[in-house]
Subunit: 241 residues, 2 copies
DNA sequence: TCTATATTTCGTTTCTGAGCGAAGCACAAA
DNA sequence: TTTGTGCTTCGCTCAGAAACGAAATATAGA
């Protein structure tokens, strides 16, 4: 038997406390052990044991910094596996009004591991494909020559990014939209750039992102993405209709 | 919180006995409870309890037939989630020579849920794309007009298959090759047709498939697929080099 | 150096859930 | 009907894993 043994990984991800930690790490940030313990609702000792197991299983990795130890997902595939698991989980139980509002906010724009997801991510991907800056190809996207200036304008230096010939523009399937959006190194760089230039802001909620006014302008100018303004924007901001 | 709760599914799939059952069901066949119990190495009572849980979680479904109850994966997404989990599992531990041989056999041709996977599946998908019978598209393949006769010749009536406008030709990522091959309704129909006309034979091993001489001829005639003859064929048959 | 904070290690307790045998059902074939 | 087989339900046992507090380790700052 040497098909990779999925039971091991599933068991690691299946324990509630560990799952809670992975869920927080899912948005791609590195988080210290103590905070993970709090979000998972367990003691520091317990959390430490869980983190050791996840580490051992290769699901996460650590970066020690001072007396903190920052944990993060080990690689993009982990996020993809979690996403795939989520896709088969019994349909999202909406228990309360605030759940439902939260869901709507996440639907518009959120981080998926280290890249952008939701309606907004699809708009960006589609616009780039329409402009032939990205080519659709087996298993992902291909970055075309025309894309370089657009990404530079958004603060992403694609030349530096793809010096490594193995770096790919990967595609990731969205669980709300069931379409591909941009992941991989380019997706990560893009999200980071958009956050840094203030086009997007992280909200207090784990994965939620907010598109700022300047961000709206930038997306239109650089990528030709027109955010279907009031409707999505209102839903994104959670204002009452 | 209403992201789908992956922990529940992961916990279901993570228990060793249940994982063993899912692994057998992974090749897409429906298998009676007793046999699942035996392959998982547990008593009938234990297996029954596990199957009830998997059923409750929506991972599998039953078809009662006489005094047998045939269990099978509930839907393709389940297989995809398992595949994604497998992709992040620590690299396949090869423990013995027979493991290694088995691996080589599976690498060439195997069933992945209800469709064909392995080198052979890639050859088929690539040949169809090259002939422009399949178009590569966001999240999958698109069946083009030219494909109809080829599939008919292989025993697959694409017209009947796609009366449902929502039926898609999906793509599935191979864990050995990391490329897309044909899954979805078309993939399922294709594998079934190839098995029925004797182009492929199931081997005793769970997911292993064998390409017959007549199958080799058929693939060449219908899809223009040339199996890199001796090398792959030998490895597929497990003969010594 | 000493103190405070972050994290891991150790020792122990607790409890879930996997496991089995026996009994109960359901169906098929006498 | 009776008998035999496949599967599930019931009742119970027990191992393993998760959990915590306390103590040990490591680093930052005073």
């Amino acid at each position: 038997m040497n098909e990779p043994d999925f039971a091991y990984v599933a068991a690691l991800a299946g324990e509630p406390a560990r799952a809670a930690m992975l869920a927080v790490l899912f948005d791609g940030r590195a988080i210290p052990a103590g905070q993970l313990a709090r979000t998972a609702g367990v003691s520091a000792a317990t959390a430490s044991a869980h983190l050791a197991k996840l580490l051992d299983g290769g699901l996460i990795r650590v970066r020690a910094q001072g007396r903190h130890r920052y944990y993060e997902l080990a690689r993009p595939e982990i996020a993809q596996a979690l996403e795939a698991l989520g896709a088969v989980a019994p349909a999202a139980p909406v228990r309360s009004l605030s759940d439902s509002l939260r869901m709507q906010r996440l639907r518009f724009a959120r981080s998926c591991y280290n890249h952008l997801a939701g309606e907004l991510a699809l708009l960006v991907a589609q616009a780039l494909v329409r402009r032939e800056a990205l080519g659709v190809e087996d298993g992902g996207f291909r970055l075309r020559d025309g894309a370089r200036e657009a990404f530079l304008a958004a603060g992403v230096d694609t030349a530096a990014l793809f010096r490594d010939p193995h770096a790919h523009v990967r595609a990731c399937i969205d669980w709300t939209e069931r379409r591909h959006h941009i992941s991989g190194p380019l997706g990560a760089a893009l999200l980071q750039a958009l956050l840094e230039c203030g086009a997007l802001r992280r909200k207090s909620e784990p994965r939620a992102l907010e598109l700022t006014e300047s961000g709206k302008a930038l997306l239109w100018r650089v990528f030709g993405v027109e955010v279907a303004c009031e409707k999505s924007a209102d839903r994104a901001a959670g204002k009452s209709a």
